[in-house]
Amino acid sequence: MTATAYGRPGTATGTGPPRSDGPAKAAGTAPYAYEYRVADPAYVAPVQATVARGRVLEVDAAEAEAVEGVIAVLTHAGAPGLDTGAELSGLQRVAELAVLQSGEVSYRGQVVAAVVAETFEAAWHAAALVTVRYEQWPHDAGFSDQRADAVAPEEDHRQGEVESAAPAEVVVEQTYATAMQHNNPMEPHTTVARFEGGELFLYESTQGSYEVRRTVAALLGMEPERVHVVAPYVGGGFGSKGPLHAPTVLAVLAAVALPGRWVKLALTRRQMFALVGYRSPTIQRVRLSAGADGRLSGVDVVATVQSSHVADFVEEAAGPAKSMYAAPNRRMGHRVVRLDAAVPTWMRAPGECPGMFGPEVAMDELAWACGLDPIEVRLRNEPERDPHTGKPFSSRNLAACLREGARRFGWADRAPEPGGRVENGWRVGMGVAASAYPVVPPPGDSWARIRYEGEGVYAVSLAAADIGTGAWTALAQVAADALGVPLERVRVRLGDSSLPEASLAGGSTGLMSWGSTIHAAAEEFRRGHGERPEPGAEATGHLPANPAQDDYAMYAYGAQFAEVRVHAATGEVRVPRLLGVFAAGRIVNARTARSQFTGGMTMGLSMALHEESVVDARFGHVVNGDFAEYHIAANADVEDVQAHWIDEEDPLVNPLGAKGIGEIGIVGTAAAVANAAYHATGVRVRSLPVRLDDFIGA
């Protein structure tokens, strides 16, 4: 079977069967980690630091221990030891995972003790009764781009001479900011664990069961094969369930301390704002130099981001500008401010999502400065080759997305000047921004096993995680196509470390890597067993290396359009229309793909108008850590959201010809909204979220 046979009309790929897990999800019978009925569980309740920096002097647990049902109070003095020198994968931060291994407090909210009890109520009540005395040290939790101690994590990327470039006819030099955000999937991070006979069993909310297995095994000094991780259904992750965080380790410590007993820990929403990472705020200084014709001569992006004294995590917000537009003189760099704060983490399209805000608003400013259509400015700066590496693009259809989007959105009807359209007391405007997301190598290796069960039925298994994306369905389609059988004949098994290893669900690589692996397994199967296999026949396939990976720059692209209304008197901001057109290779399942795109765009809208974790630097923590105060777009904020895609053939990216679609939908949305708000009002907002106080009085 050749790669080009994929997606041919009439086969399973390319159509949109509904999600196979849909009915179970709707009926509540697809269990998340906490919902497994385990015998006689104990419950873990964390005690969190109320200082941002210092040392635990004493943990007074007497009152807590007196509570009926309390089994143990874990502190750094008595908790089981971990191998904090363990070699972990590049995704993990061992210092973040060294839970209760010392009395040092490095951020507010850090786990400093935990209660294990017979009931949930007793555990939580007792946790509130644990008194911790600290030696408090001065802390520093104030993020800004005006700090002398900001460090460059690597040398700036430079081409040409961005500083001394010949004076340009048009210069846009501005500072843009994106807010700190917290991932907040619907299912909070959960671990249900039991340690018995040298084996550790985990029901875990995770984007990768093998990553959990290996990390936990290394920390405990166990053989990875003795750690078993089950996670068939996961209620979202948005990146925060990729790397492990402290709560998983805490639950494991409790399980080790209570051999033979199941222990359960699910975070509260408030704890989700303290213990499982966040998207760093960014401050982006962008300088675009161009001719009067809008052609760029220089692109200079320096992004200041937040990291932690615990361990570094750099939100690569200056990254996307590297490959976006042609310009001979370029610099992209990061400045990292390390604070007494928790370690940031991945959040949907890390780097790309915040990093396309500044440059894409700056491109809009450039367009207005040159008197050009913002689409035209982008078209004039389309690069022939990847400006960063000089490699050819495997495919680049940004221009087609912009044109198709303009047509569908009615871009030509927009008012010629900002502030030119008022309807019923609302100023109305339209904005556009580009979007891009790379085809990255998958985070981890993958194998898939195919077994003929008899009666025409094939079982396909691998430990991939469906975090709500539709992988259960799309992978069955891929398998059906690869085997040349109807979809109903394929049984998929996912999300269990007893199945063949699969890479983490991250970087929008899931379908590409797992699908390619299943494809390889199907070829292997047919090679070994032919078209008429015996029941029980089996074959395993391995993720094929992509020979083209090093020779091409590979990206998915999109164009995001927004209509924004700003109330003339109150400044209230609404987004009646969002429209995205994407070029992301072959779309395997139109239904689940559309959900990924529109879901990303909705999250982008939420970022544009609402999401902001407010850190009070005096205390060092997020003070609006619940869903009444930390706003996520509500249904009423999300009106007409449409996603379309263009047909794109890209045989170079992988045998499926598919690029990742999980993240690109959130990239560029906020810039499109801010650009539309400018068109509506003439007020340029350069700091997210865009809110009513940006407009009133203006």
Partner: protein
Amino acid sequence: MKPFDYRRASDAAGAAALVAEHPGAAFLGGGTNLVDHMKLGVAAPDMLVDITHLPMDRVEALPEGEGGVSIGANVRNSEAAAHPLVRERYPVLSQALLSGASGQLRNAATTGGNLLQRTRCVYFQDTGTPCNKREPGSGCSALEGYQRYHAVFGASPDCVATHPSDMAVALVALDARVVVTDAAGGERRIPVAELHRLPGEAPEQDTVLSRGDLITAVELPEMPMAARARYRKIRDRASFAFALVSAAVGLELAADGTVADVRIALGGVAHKPWRALLAEEALRGSAATEAGFAAAAEAELSEARPLPGNVFKLELVRAAVTETLGEVAAELRGEGEL
């Protein structure tokens, strides 16, 4: 959450007496505010007296002659909003209720609980930070902290919090009163406008009620301007968000087109639903024009003392007052929707 005793009250006076006798007791209405606070450690009652089975669950017309409508303290927010007597006679109250919280919360929240819900000040809800309202004398974290949802009228150096209820704002504009049963079985009526306090030096006291005082009903008097009064809520999200500023506005025009009577109550701006008396005074007897409405808003704003983090609220007060008055006036003149 601290373990607690649960009692189901069987009559109003008994419930009041039970709470009055037990310093650690609290009434339980829908629980959407109190139970949250128990989970957060903001409230730690050792006894909950469930009042939701008491027969205070009706919306009914007050006896002939008195006019008006009574809403039992246990009537759920969604029920009150949908009740024909409320929708016909006091649509502004329906609008205010429906602009609050979410459908699920409104199904659980009671009239009494809504009135007595506590501030959403983030520091009040966070036991790890100083807060005079939660822990008298510990300090006010908001004074130099996050102030977006805080007061611009009537605050004190001890507390700058706002009262979050939308319903209460409409009730103040409607001259409503609460009916209170006390521990001794006595009954008294308090205008809603006088129920909540300004923080002064005792921000821990939200209201003028004493321990054990049970709200049994809210009474709405007959009021000619009620049928056309309107509620406008300005917020950060299109729904499911507390007001940055809201306004409940009623207007009565004289035959010559001047303002015969007016009610303006503001939400999101003070420790209590804020009756804009200065604005009302400026308007009574004057022309019902856009300029007049704007001048009224300015009169009220002369009393405003915004915080660095919420100066923008002044503009919102201006917009909410002038636009809503303008809409009501237009409707009264038969001009229909603006």
